[in-house]
Structures are given as C-alpha cells and as structure tokens.
C-alpha cells in the first residue's frame, strides 16, 4: 500500500500534528519507505492466528474501591501552561 499526500494530511489532522506542505511532502516519502518495510509482514500467512496483545497473557487484577488520593491541585498546576481559579485554561471551545 502506498500513501498519498492526502493520506498524510488526514492522518496528521487525526494526530493533531500541524504539517507544512514541504513537511507533508518529505514525510510522505519517509512514511512510504517505512510502509515498504512494514509490508514485509504480508508475506506471512496469519490466517487463524489469534492476535497477541501482551506477551505474557496474564489477567487483570482489580483494585478495591477506596479513595487513596488527596488533593494536590496546587502542586500539579505548578506545571500547567495556563491555569486560573483552579481550572486549566484553553482558548475558547465552541460547542
């Protein structure tokens, strides 16, 4: 499968990565060479092979329903680009 620059633009949009036209062109070539590498997978017949998401196939342990966290808002918001009145601020969102 080979990508077009429309693919790259669509994917960049989904990933919220702003790309200039020049970057799109450059990226396109690189992504296509990576996809050529990746496409080597297709030579293996994987019919009826169950996908493996985790190498060890363990099962999840569940946590008891207890409140263990305390308010650390001030500490956490020290690292925020913009916060006021306890809220994180972003440019106005139109719904």
């Amino acid at each position: 499968m080979s990508l077009t620059s429309d693919h790259v633009k669509r994917v960049a949009k989904l990933a919220r990565l702003g790309l200039t036209d020049a970057e799109t062109t450059e990226t396109l070539t690189q992504l296509n060479s990576i996809l050529d590498l990746v496409d080597q997978m297709q030579r293996i017949n994987t019919k009826d092979v169950v996908p493996l998401a985790h190498p060890l196939e363990l099962k999840q342990t569940l946590r008891a329903d207890e409140v263990t966290e305390m308010d650390q808002r001030e500490k956490f918001q020290n690292t925020a680009p913009q916060a006021d009145d306890g809220l994180y601020l972003v440019p106005r969102v139109v719904e």
Partner: protein, 480 residues
C-alpha cells in the same frame, strides 16, 4: 406518514467511592480539579488500575436485564482530542464489553408492554467538564469528573416514539436505582442520554439517516428533544431535502436541536486494546456472588405489592418505579396495615407534592412513620378525610407530630350524635327553602340534594363531624 426509529445510549455514572482507574474521590461538587489525581490528569508515566466495584456493579446490571455477562472483557482506547479528555483517549470497551445482549420490559400508557433489546453495556471513564462562561475568550477545564466510572447502556433502535424512549429510560433509571449502582440524578449528570433518531415512511424496512442528540439530561427533555428532532427531520423530507448524519445538541430554551460544530468532523476513533491493561476475567463465583446479592427488581416488587397489599396493577406500577418511593410506601403499608389507604396517600398527596416541588422522597418532610400514624388515626375514626388532609398539610409544614397537631388544632372527629343533631337542627332551621325542595323531590334526586346539607353541617362543625353520622341524622330528620 412517518415512523420514528429511536435508539438510546444511556450513560450511567456508577456510585463507586473512587474512580474507575484511580483512587480519587467521585464526590460531586468539589472545588475544581481538587479530585484530579496524577492518573486523572493523564500525567506522563501514570498507569490505570481498574476498580473492582465498577465490575460488580456492571455485572449486577447485566444480570438484572437478563444479559450475557462478558466473562473476559477488554479495555480499549477510543482516541480523540478534546480539552476535557486528558489523555487524548478515553478508556472504554469496544469489542468485548462486560455486558452483552439483554432486554428490558417497558409499559406503555395504553397498558401494553413491549420488550426492548439492549445491545450491550460497557464500562468506560467519564471525561472532565469544560466551563465556557467563566473566562473571557477562554474555556476552563475541570477534571474532577474525569475518570468517574460510567456504564454505557446501548439499546437496539427499537423505540418508535419519544414516549417509548422515555418509558425505556425510566425503566433503566428504575433498575439502576434498585441495584443501587447509581444515584441516577439526571440534573447532576449522573445519568445522561444520547438519542439516535431517524425517520422513515411507515411500513418501510430500511432505516433513514440518523442524527445523534448528545447529552440530554432530563426525562422531559428527552421527550421534547426527540419530538423536536422528529419534526425537524419530517420538515426536511417534506421539503424534498436530505437528513445529514451528524451530532446535534438540544437547546431547551429555544426548544430546538442544533448541529454541534465541534463534533462536525468525521471521527476515526482508532480503537485498539489498551496495552496498559490486561483482559479482565471474571470467574463464575464472582458472577454468582453478584447474582445472589441482587436485590428485588421493580417487576418482581410490583407483583409482590399487588398480592401483598391488594393494590391495582396500575398503582403498583406507579409505586415501584422509584425504589425509594416503593420503600416508603411499603413502610407505611406495613406499619399501618392499610395497603390501599397507603397507596392512595402516597400516590395522591406525596407524589403530587414531589412532582410540584421537584423534591425527593428520601428527605421528604413527612416521614413514613408519620404518614402511617395519620392513617391509623383515620382508621380509628379520630380523623375523617378532610381533617386528615389538614393534618397532612401541618406535617408538611413541620408543625409537629400527628397527635399533637390533632390536639392543637382541635381536629378530633365529632362522633357524638347529640352534638351532631344540634348542628343538623340548626342547618334545617336556617335553610327552609332547601328543606322544602328536598322534601318535594323524588327519591333519586334526594340523594344528590343531601350533599348540600352535609356540606353545611361539616362547615359548621369545622370538618370534625363524622360524615357517616351526619348522613344518617340528616336523612332521618329531613324525611321527618
């Protein structure tokens, strides 16, 4: 003519103490971001650990709707960007939900019943809240709600009207309240509803293009939003237009739905199994324990009330819809020993009052014990229906206990026939014309006309006279 095809996605916030993937509190109404931990904030390097209680609650719901339980469920990531979604993905369940296909029974106004199939119910984390009006040109983000466990219950598109949709939503509400897995408070957002609505010519088997109305937050709005949307779609088709598949928002002030610009872009959520989490495998004993601990559900309780308290199917249906109301009624009925009277009072006076004030029965000013006491006083003839009403109103106003009110207001019923005879004589003397008319009237008219005299007597006795005694004495004196 058009037929509406409606499916609901109901998001129920589960009433766990802590969040689904972190140990933060889920309490409503805290200071912004004071209940947002490292994990809820999606800080670099943090990892989720699921809450066992959320699974227990989801399984109970599944059992209550007779659904298949996913003994191996898998968390997936739903990827999209939004300021109140801290990680850029929501942890949800896509291919292997905890609850598989199930069904609920709804009762329609004409008394017919309809089974609505539930496609699935899955666990996921709630997003935070965006606050748009507090800052100039900026949106504030509060992540206290982020990570609150949600059970998303998806129905098949089998609902055919707004009324059916509301009936379905009420059943879901009733079930989650009975199971005590959510407070079901729609005003606080503990239960929210997305409505998928399309229309098609009646008799057509193909589905029309659907729109999704997001986040409708009351039963009333669900009905209005769906009807508004159905009408909008009919108008479009009648004008020869086409319905566009999109997400819309219901504006209750303008009674219209409008397109949500922020959600306009076609989404590609790129679901994939969350590599930070492993498959959740529930063994039979876990599920059996949930089954054993399942409380009595609305349908079962309704049947029991009909047989235990001798009330009608309709009354039982109204009384059991809300678990707290049902409990209240049962307490009144059991302590007073008067099922029918209890049903009349709860439905007639209490539900009417709650409807008007929008209050909740759990903190209602008349306790079940007080109402039961009041009914006891009707039973022992201390009160008649009129004075009982007065006592009830005094209870509502918090004026004290039943007997104290009766005493203070001097409401003890007059059953002494001598005292009643005196009043009857007075009334006869004061209304000679009416008496003449009465005596001249035919027998079947007489019983109607008697009401006037009874009213006069009751008025003079300030409502305290025993109505049966009044009737008897009046009939004999008037005929004499």
């Amino acid at each position: 003519m058009y037929e509406a095809v409606i499916g609901l996605e109901v998001h129920v916030q589960l009433s766990t103490n802590s969040k689904i993937f972190s140990g933060s509190s889920t309490d409503f109404g805290a200071e912004p971001n004071s209940q947002a931990s490292l994990i809820d904030l999606g800080m670099p390097g943090v990892l989720p650990v699921p809450n066992a209680k959320a699974f227990e609650m989801a399984v109970k719901f599944g059992l209550a709707i007779d659904a298949e339980i996913g003994q191996k469920s898998i968390f997936d990531r739903k990827n999209y960007f939004y300021p109140d979604l801290p990680k850029g993905y929501q942890i949800s369940q896509f291919e292997k939900p905890i609850v598989g296909p199930g069904r609920v029974l709804i009762s329609l106004e004409d008394g017919t019943k309809k089974t609505i199939n539930v496609t699935r119910a899955h666990l996921e984390e709630d997003a935070g809240k965006s606050i748009h009006d507090a800052f100039d040109g900026m949106t504030g983000v509060d992540l206290n709600r982020a990570g609150t466990p949600l059970l998303e219950i998806v129905s098949e598109p089998e609902l055919r009207s707004a009324k059916e949709a509301v009936a379905y939503l009420k059943v879901i509400h009733s079930i989650v309240r009975y199971l005590d897995i959510s407070d079901g408070n729609m005003a606080e957002g503990s239960m929210r509803c997305d409505c998928n609505v399309s229309i098609r010519p009646e008799g057509s088997a193909t589905l029309g293009t659907r729109t999704e109305i997001k986040n409708v937050n009351s039963f009333r709005f669900v009905e209005k939003a769906i009807n508004t949307e159905i009408n909008r779609q009919i108008d479009i088709l009648e004008d020869g237009g086409r319905v566009i598949q999109e997400t819309r928002l219901y504006d209750p002030d303008r009674e219209e739905t409008r397109s949500m610009r922020s959600k306009e872009e076609a989404n590609d959520y790129r679901y994939f199994p969350d590599p930070d989490l492993l498959p959740v495998v529930l063994d039979d004993s876990f599920i059996e324990t949930c089954r054993v601990n399942l409380p009595e559900l609305p349908e079962a309780r309704k049947a029991r009330y009909i047989s235990e308290y001798g009330i009608t199917d309709y009354d039982a249906g109204v009384l059991v819809a809300d678990r707290d109301v049902a409990d209240y009624f049962a307490e009144v009925a059991n302590t007073s020993g008067e099922g029918k009277l209890a049903a009349n009072w709860v439905m007639g006076s209490i539900l009417a009052e709650l409807n008007q004030t929008g209050g909740s029965i759990t903190n209602f000013s008349v306790t079940a014990r007080q109402l039961s006491h009041l009914i006891g006083r009707i039973k022992d003839n201390t009160l008649n229906s009129k004075t009982a009403k007065t006592v009830f109103e005094a209870l509502l106003a918090g004026e004290g206990e039943v007997d104290a009110i009766i005493e203070f207001k001097g409401l003890v019923q007059v059953t002494d026939t001598g005292a009643i005879e005196v009043i009857v004589d007075e009334v006869i003397a004061e209304n000679p014309d009416q008496v003449a008319n009465y005596r001249a009237a035919s027998e079947d008219k007489k019983s109607k006309m008697l009401g006037f005299f009874v009213g006069q007597v009751m008025k003079k006795s300030q409502g305290k006279a025993n109505p049966q005694a009044v009737n008897q004495i009046l009939s004999s004196k008037l005929s004499g």
